[in-house]
Symmetry: C2
Subunit: 307 residues, 2 copies
């Protein structure tokens, strides 16, 4: 039932209209693994510098996440990203990127990580993602994330990966970029023809569209009154989604849909505070409660016609 | 069970990436009334020139819409709007606006229109909307549409109206403009404090959020592969929404939600062709079928936890 995630562990500097944080814990693999750990055991592959110390590692420890795949580079500095948001929280402006030890990241999976139930290839160079895939044995399900930079610079590498993975998570602008289609549904269908069974399209505050075989599932986001910091929302979403899937004996369409909703739920908590602060303060009951709220918010009955 | 709508009947010139129409039937009241007529009897108040002849009037006649409130100005020309869309079909670029007879529109309700079950004040000058309201007797439900232009030029008039109406339909940019709040949920709540019981927020291809007392309902749009011409989508949506509501004996939360979904359904048909072409070609069974599809697309079960 375990999940392996390969991606970044980082420090972030963040400024939003609501506050400022100079150096807080971030990184795709961090957000993902903390949020997935509410549902399934998680093992992380990442690299940090020795500025990411014992206190920082507690973010994994307190959620019983296996960190034997995190390499600490002596004398190295951890990946640092600095970003700013205006009132349109959909747009992050990158102010600084210091790759540091992440520049030479060569993911190595400990033997205990091989043959996971779910493998999540968080957003890194698709050639590295492919290497990880080759080393991971026979995962039950492989999920892929990427970004606009790799679509423009390494599309053939991405296409090679897409033939091998089961599920791909992508945002709507990236679907349009990848497919060259203005219409999102057409673009998604075109991408699936490259070998992706399930395409999960993130639409930020508007929610998610999942294309799965011939089915479409549309889930609105939880309507939040206080969005504090959107950093990590996409990785949080992936964590809830894949964490829930890894906890299920089989993957039915119903399971996939519930997983999308749990992904939306954890992402909605994530954006309510800086870093992992909100997720570190809640329990699984809070997730269940918001799941039910989201169900109440979206539910409608079959129609009735009055003659 | 009847609905009265007051608004524009027009000719449109439209160019989209998929085609061009020099002069086709348009106007908020036209889209609204044709679409509402699938559910309830409709009566229109509008003004046209004598270029809007017997052939054009068939758009109302074929759906048994009461046109005794449409005044034809001898020697006058009908309101004409020309617009263009790029691949981002959310953005219309106005190329030409000829108000013509619409410039002196002074809506007069025939006696047979008084005390309707539903009164829809389509987007016109809020002072005219108020006059109509005063002349309409005691409608069971009053619904209001507006646009950015009136929010910036006649906000006090709109606020006066909002104290009187039951339901307001508005798009998300207009909520932000009106309320000055970046967060949509906060903005909607602030607007409701001015006296609107139900606020229906349109988000284009992303769907709709309805705020109704303390409830929120989120409905994704029907995911369309072929959006041909978005003109009239908002008025179509209002037509399906209020048409369904007018057909119901009482207005429960379930009815309101179904109405939102029927609004989305008719709007999704509307954008599949120019003008009213698509809606003139389908029947109520098509609406029911797409309602059920939209339900299948959005439905998810309560969660299950596997120990």
């Amino acid at each position: 039932m375990s999940i392996v995630v390969v991606g970044s562990v980082a420090f972030d500097g963040i400024e939003t209209p609501f506050g400022k944080a100079d150096k807080v814990i971030g990184g795709a693999a961090t957000y993902f693994s903390v949020d997935a750990s509410f549902f399934s055991p998680v093992k992380v592959v990442a690299v940090v510098g020795d500025d990411f110390g014992d206190e920082e590692m507690s973010v994994f420890r307190e959620r019983h996440i296996d960190t034997s795949g995190i390499r600490r580079v002596a004398g190295g500095k951890t990946f640092f990203w600095k970003g700013e948001y205006g009132y349109d929280l959909n747009v992050a402006i990158t102010k600084d990127t210091q790759l540091n030890v992440f520049a030479d990241f060569d993911p190595v999976l400990p033997d205990s990580y091989v043959d996971p139930k779910v493998l999540f290839l968080a957003n890194i160079d698709p050639d590295l993602q492919f290497k990880v895939l080759e080393r991971a044995g026979r995962p039950g399900l492989v999920a892929l994330d990427t970004m606009n930079y790799w679509i423009s610079s390494k599309k053939p590498s991405l296409e090679r990966l897409m033939r091998e993975v089961d599920l791909m998570i992508i945002n709507e602008a990236e679907v349009r970029q990848f497919s060259g289609e203005a219409n999102l549904v057409k673009g998604a269908r075109a991408m699936m023809k490259l070998g992706v069974d399930t395409l999960v399209v993130k639409r930020g505050e508007y929610g998610v569209l999942m294309f799965h075989a011939d089915n479409v599932f549309a889930a609105p986001a939880y309507p939040l009154e206080n969005v504090f910091d959107p950093t990590g929302a996409g990785d949080s979403f992936a964590g809830g989604l894949l964490g829930y899937l890894a906890s299920r004996p089989h993957l039915t369409e119903d399971d996939m849909r519930r997983a999308i909703v749990f992904g939306s739920v954890v992402a909605s908590f994530n954006v309510e505070a800086f870093s992992l602060d909100r997720l570190r303060a809640i329990g699984v009951d809070d997730l269940h409660q918001r799941y039910r709220e989201l169900r109440a918010i979206t539910h409608f009955e079959d129609y009735e016609i009055v003659a």
